[in-house]
């Protein structure tokens, strides 16, 4: 008894996924004419600049603090809280440029110790360490 031979339906290509660096909604996309008009900024430009400048300085300071905290973590034992109530501990190695992944070693998991591992930042809820 032979089962009938079936051919999978051909496709032109696979659906496109996120570009990985922006949130999308291309300004030159198909629906661009529907985009709401951005209202002109009416405030005094000098006062506006000073506020923006201050905000940018604050952002830079906070980022520098965060990057220094990452440096301080290198080689230390860090405890990560992940989704679904999972807690793991590991020695912190490094992060990548956009802090998307954490490179760790000696990751203690419920199913054993992993010598080297990459933890996705999106999986981490919080982490803590003692300097």
């Amino acid at each position: 008894m032979q089962t009938p031979v079936t051919i999978p339906v051909p496709v032109l290509r696979l659906p496109r996924g996120p570009d990985g660096f922006s949130r999308g909604f291309a300004p030159d996309g198909r629906r661009a004419p529907l985009r709401p008009e951005v209202p002109e900024i009416q405030e005094c430009p000098i006062a506006q600049e000073s506020l923006e400048f201050q905000e940018q300085r604050a952002r830079a300071a906070l980022r520098e603090r965060y990057l220094r905290s990452l440096l301080a973590m290198v080689g230390r034992q860090v405890s990560f809280t992940l989704h679904e109530g999972v807690r793991v501990a590991a020695h912190f190695g490094a992060t990548d440029l956009d802090v998307v992944n954490f490179y760790v070693s000696q990751l203690q998991t419920p199913i054993g110790v992993q010598a080297e591992a990459l933890l996705r930042c999106s999986d981490i809820i919080s982490y803590t360490f003692k300097p």
């Binding site: 999978p8 339906v9 496709v11 949130r23 909604f25 529907l34």
Partner: protein, 350 residues
């Protein structure tokens, strides 16, 4: 030669996809929004699954997502105790509506002037989107967290489902009209305006009720626990998916199981037909959305019907120069895709 369904997998989410919704048919086609536990709902072109953009702003899992009819606005319900309304063209956040607990469901009225929300605080809320700072109207009565709330009967009534009941409310008087009790947890609800049909899933049952009277019409039993089901716009088929990772397609009139499809690597949480009925989308615990053809082998979207050559055992290359193109180019994919899409022998394993 019989054709086998080729599902189109839309990747991008990193956690389970728990809800999805299509817009109506707009001059730009139709669109699809997916709600994900990663907190980043995505907008996609409905007929191809191409990613358009990600709505960034929620600080918790997004449990519900919807689009208005012309896909100019999106609304999302999240575990960060807020519902948000977005501009679906630019991706910008338009308003944040604070709640007292996890919000699970959102629905626009036909004119997009009001938004209905429901969640774990057991209250239905109606927001006037032209006056977002005004307090919403509240309807209480549910005794467990609300899982789904929908406008019906031309926005004159509201249907809401909690764990074991489905209730019908009158919008003008904000009072309960009727309710249905179930002895199993209600997993999903869909409202079909044409014909006023309500599709409810609970346990392994897929039940159809009148949306006006809540009287039962018919129901089918599936082989496994079903989490979501959708009725085709022309009411010829229904599709359902659940805990056994499979999608089932039934004939609505006879109840006969027509097809079942494997493909997802986790339980299916949501299934919906597109507004033109040509495809249906499924969202799963495995973090993907898949698009499936209603009529397998038909040329539509990214699926291209090709008739094989008569003599050779090989498959014909797809014809380039597809008449109904979108603005994207059609690459020559014959060689590129032949490895994964066209098996050279029938017994090649997937």
């Amino acid at each position: 030669m019989a054709m086998r369904q080729t599902p189109l997998t839309c990747s991008g989410h990193t956690r389970p996809v728990v809800d999805l919704a299509f817009s109506g048919i707009t001059p730009y086609g139709y669109f699809l929004i997916s709600a994900c536990k990663d907190g980043k709902p995505m907008l996609r072109q409905g007929d191809t699954g191409d990613w358009i953009g990600t709505f960034l702003g929620h600080k918790g899992a997004v449990w519900g997502a919807t689009l208005n009819k012309d896909a100019t606005k999106a609304a999302t319900a999240a575990a960060d105790f807020t519902a948000k309304v977005w501009d679906a063209v630019s991706g910008d956040e338009l308003m944040t509506l604070a709640h007292k607990h996890i919000v699970k469901t959102v629905d626009f009225t036909q004119d997009s002037n009001s938004l209905l929300t429901g969640g774990q605080d057991k209250l239905l809320r109606i927001y006037d989107l032209n006056k977002p700072e005004a307090e919403p109207k509240e309807i209480s009565g549910h005794t467990s967290g609300i899982k789904k709330a929908l406008w019906c009967s031309e926005d004159k009534q509201i249907l809401s489902a909690d764990d074991k009941t489905v209730r019908l409310w009158d919008h003008a008087t904000m009072t309960e009209v009727k309710s249905l009790n179930f002895n199993m947890s209600v997993s999903s609800m869909e409202y079909i305006p044409e014909g006023e049909i309500l599709v409810i899933t609970y346990g392994r049952s897929i039940a159809f009720h009148s949306a006006v009277s809540l009287d039962p019409i018919k129901s089918f039993e599936a082989p496994a626990t079903i989490n979501s089901a959708s009725l085709h716009p022309e009411k010829e088929f229904l599709v359902a998916g659940g805990e056994d990772f499979k999608l089932y397609k039934y004939d609505y009139n006879s109840g006969e199981e027509l097809e079942s499809y494997k493909g997802h690597f986790g339980p299916i949480h949501c299934v919906r037909f597109s507004p033109d009925g040509e495809l249906y989308a499924s969202g799963s615990e495995d973090g993907t959305l898949r698009l499936w053809q209603t009529v397998v082998g038909k040329t539509y979207g990214l699926w291209k019907c090709v008739l094989p050559e008569e003599d050779s055992g090989e498959l014909a290359k797809p014809k380039i120069g597809f008449p109904e193109t979108t603005e994207e180019e059609i690459e020559e994919i014959a060689s590129e895709n032949s490895d994964c899409i066209y098996p050279s022998a029938p017994d090649v394993k997937a």
